[in-house]
């Protein structure tokens, strides 16, 4: 049996959905994108062009829920389905779009650069527990206007795993799509076997900005999956009661499904989010708070009730360095998200709310993710009867280490951690240099990055990607992009 965690009872789920739909009728959703308002009006929504508000009838929402994709796969660059959005399958990717990296030398955040980003992509490739890449940091060594597409450009050069990404502008989305299409072997191939999903974020409460709405429409039309990232902030931009925050999430996400389906019926859209419980002292958005986890698990359950693929930002910490708070918060969210059956859990490696990536944290988080995945496989009988045969054979002898049964099963039954997890005796630990988890993690980052092998992407394709990214860079006054580490050496 796969262990599962359900946050809400069924009647509360139904009420949340009903109230979410009611919010779309009154007060309606603010839509700052002209095309989306036109689509909504044509389909029968009551659109107030002066207030930029669309009131969406329930029938429209139900129609959209009928056409939206129930499940889909993301593919690796070599064409294998490796991430399944749908059902209770659980995958993990690093938290995205950090503005800082925790420098392991100084133990302080700093602006990430091209080489940091490439190291992270290589590390993710080498971590078996992490299923997908993400455009996890924004590089400070290129023009801010191309910050989004440059991350994707770098990642495509080094990744095999699919990628969770997102655009910061309307005009950069098409550049990103052009690169994805080139890497996938054309628009058709990209649609048939998507290698990326785009995060699109409504603004709380109940607002679709021009940018994010256009990204959603463009993704739907291009057959590229979009991940709705609704982020009610309970007590600030959303009601403080957790259930009401989930209602707001439902309304924002349902309106996203409607807009996406109007742009193109059948569009692949993920019921995702990044809500938080507001910190009432600091005015910050704690991602390691139990309230945050509860809202996440609750909306994931709502999404499952609607039969949709799900996503959440979990497994992050608000700590600033790799300390006890960091471990505690990351473990809590990771475990709960896994038990809630969230299809894609973004957040590994992330510190300081959602603003600082740490490669060292990522390898520690990967161990927690490995354990969470083990937990999800549950406890199986394995033998029938379960234990009687073994005891008939061994009686009171404790010789299981030498038993063929142990050799047969230990790799499947036990989670086997990397050396990041210290399980030696105290003497053994002292002999190895008495290193902290952070120090062991730093060593593992170095060894994993060193073990990375380049992908078979051709020189022609690499040149094509560079040409696309360089053209975009020149529009914003950057004549040349930084040299690509290793590949171009």
């Amino acid at each position: 049996m796969r262990p599962t965690f359900r946050m809400l009872n069924e009647s509360l789920v139904e009420q949340i959905i009903a109230e979410g739909m009611a919010l779309l009728r009154e007060p309606g959703v603010r839509v700052h994108n002209e095309e989306a308002r036109r689509l909504l009006a044509e389909a029968g929504a009551d659109v107030d062009e002066a207030a930029l508000v669309a009131r969406i009838p329930e029938a429209m929402v139900l129609r959209a829920l009928e056409t939206t994709a129930r499940e889909f796969d993301l593919y690796s660059l070599d064409g294998r389905p490796v991430v399944h959005y749908g059902g209770d399958q659980v995958h993990f990717d690093p938290g995205s779009a950090a503005l800082a990296i925790l420098d392991p030398e100084t133990n302080r955040p700093r602006v990430p650069t091209t080489s940091d980003f490439v190291r992270l992509v290589k590390l993710v490739e080498q971590l078996p527990q992490i299923d997908a890449q993400s455009t996890a940091m924004v590089c400070g060594d290129v023009a801010a206007e191309i910050g989004d597409l440059y991350r994707l450009y770098l990642a495509l050069n080094f990744m095999r795993k699919p990628i969770v990404t997102g655009a910061f502008r309307i005009d950069t989305w098409s550049v990103m799509k052009e690169m994805l299409s080139a890497a996938a072997g054309g628009d058709r191939a990209l649609e048939a076997k998507p290698i990326a999903v785009f995060d699109v974020c409504p603004s709380p409460p109940l607002l679709w900005s021009d940018l994010t709405c256009q990204n959603l429409i463009d993704c739907a039309r291009a057959g590229i999956p979009a991940e709705l990232v609704s982020m009610p902030l309970a007590g600030a931009t959303a009601p403080v009661t957790l259930a009401a925050a989930v209602v707001q999430h439902a309304a924002e996400s349902l309106s996203g499904i409607v807009i996406g389906q109007l742009a193109r019926p059948g569009a692949k859209i993920v019921w995702g989010g990044s809500p938080a419980a507001f910190d009432m002292r600091e005015g910050t958005t704690p991602m390691g708070d139990v309230g945050t986890w509860m809202i996440d698990c609750a909306y994931a359950q709502v999404g499952k009730r609607l039969g949709l693929p799900t996503h959440a930002y979990l497994g992050m910490s608000d700590a600033k360095v790799l300390d006890a708070q960091c471990g505690m918060e990351s473990a809590g969210g990771t475990l709960l998200g896994a038990l809630a059956g969230v299809n894609m859990i973004s957040g590994a490696g992330m510190l300081d709310f959602e603003s600082c990536q740490s490669l060292e944290k990522l390898v520690i988080d990967a161990e927690m993710i490995g354990m969470a995945k083990r937990l999800l496989r549950g406890i199986e009988p394995r033998d029938e009867p379960i234990a009687l045969g073994l005891f008939q054979k061994l009686g009171h002898r404790a010789d299981y280490l030498a038993e063929p049964h142990t050799l047969k099963w230990f790799g499947k039954e036990l989670y086997l951690p990397s050396p990041v997890i210290e399980r030696a005796t105290t003497d053994g630990w002292l002999r190895k240099g008495a290193k902290t988890a952070g120090e062991r993690a730093a060593e593992r980052v170095n060894s994993l990055v060193a073990s990375y092998r380049p992908t078979p992407m051709s020189r022609e394709l690499r040149a094509e990607l560079r040409a696309i990214a360089t053209r975009a860079a020149r529009r914003f006054g950057m004549s040349e992009l930084p040299a690509l580490p290793d590949v171009e050496a």
């Binding site: 503005l99 602006v111 910050g147 910061f168 902030l233 005015g283």
Partner: protein
């Protein structure tokens, strides 16, 4: 009698009961207390207690906001009375505040605006995603002596520098002190872009504002 009334007003402010504050101010006026005595003897002291309780960890942001609201409602009642006596509360300063261009984050900025208003500043809140020229125009228009610039993104915090430069270009930089805030903003950043001050949170922003305009 008057001491008991003033204490009641102050306590209602601290306890977050704006209706009680308003009723207390009405009673105090009816009992013949001078508006200035109510402000100095109850309201200012009450808000100071609220600030102290936040600083000590007893109070949270919702407590600050409800007390600020009580203060605002009390002042709305008292202002006509002051006017009738040809008196005025000397404004602690005139502030133009907003979140810079390209940034739609509202919470922190509004919190600072609320706390400044509750502490006697004349606050002009321009909202979010405010163009550089709007800041300059409103400073000119209001004769402000303080500008508050909020930014929550590293991609938009440069907007703070743009406003400071535009104020200088418009010849207004000598007239105003500029304070900056927001998650990615640090003291070093504030110094680097030529701001006059940086505050960590809304309560310390009030102290900073008072210091910058020479009232603390």
């Amino acid at each position: 009698m008057s001491t008991a009334l003033l204490e009641r007003i102050s306590a209602s402010l601290v306890e977050g009961d704006p209706d009680g504050t308003v009723a207390g101010v009405r009673d105090a006026l009816a009992a013949g207390l001078e508006p200035m005595a109510i402000i100095d003897g109850a309201l200012v002291a009450g808000m100071r207690t609220v600030g102290d309780k936040y600083a000590s960890g007893e109070y949270f942001l919702p407590n600050l906001i409800v007390s600020a609201s009580g203060m605002k409602q009390a002042m709305a009642l008292l202002e006509p009375e002051l006017k009738a006596r040809r008196q005025e509360v000397k404004s602690a300063g005139t502030v133009v505040i907003g979140t810079v261009r390209g940034d739609i984050h509202e919470i922190g900025k509004s919190l600072v605006a609320t706390m400044l208003a509750a502490n006697g500043f004349d606050v002009h809140d321009l909202g979010v995603d405010v163009p550089v020229d709007t800041f300059v125009a409103r400073v000119k228009e209001t004769g402000a002596n303080l500008v508050g610039l909020s930014a929550l993104l590293t991609t938009t915090m440069h907007g703070q520098k743009d406003v400071i430069e535009a104020l200088a270009k418009a010849g207004l930089r000598e007239q105003v002190k500029v304070m900056v805030g927001g998650a990615p903003v640090s003291r070093a950043w504030a110094d680097g872009i030529g701001a006059d001050g940086w505050a960590q949170d809304a309560v310390s922003a009030v102290d900073l504002a008072a210091r910058l305009v020479g009232r603390a």
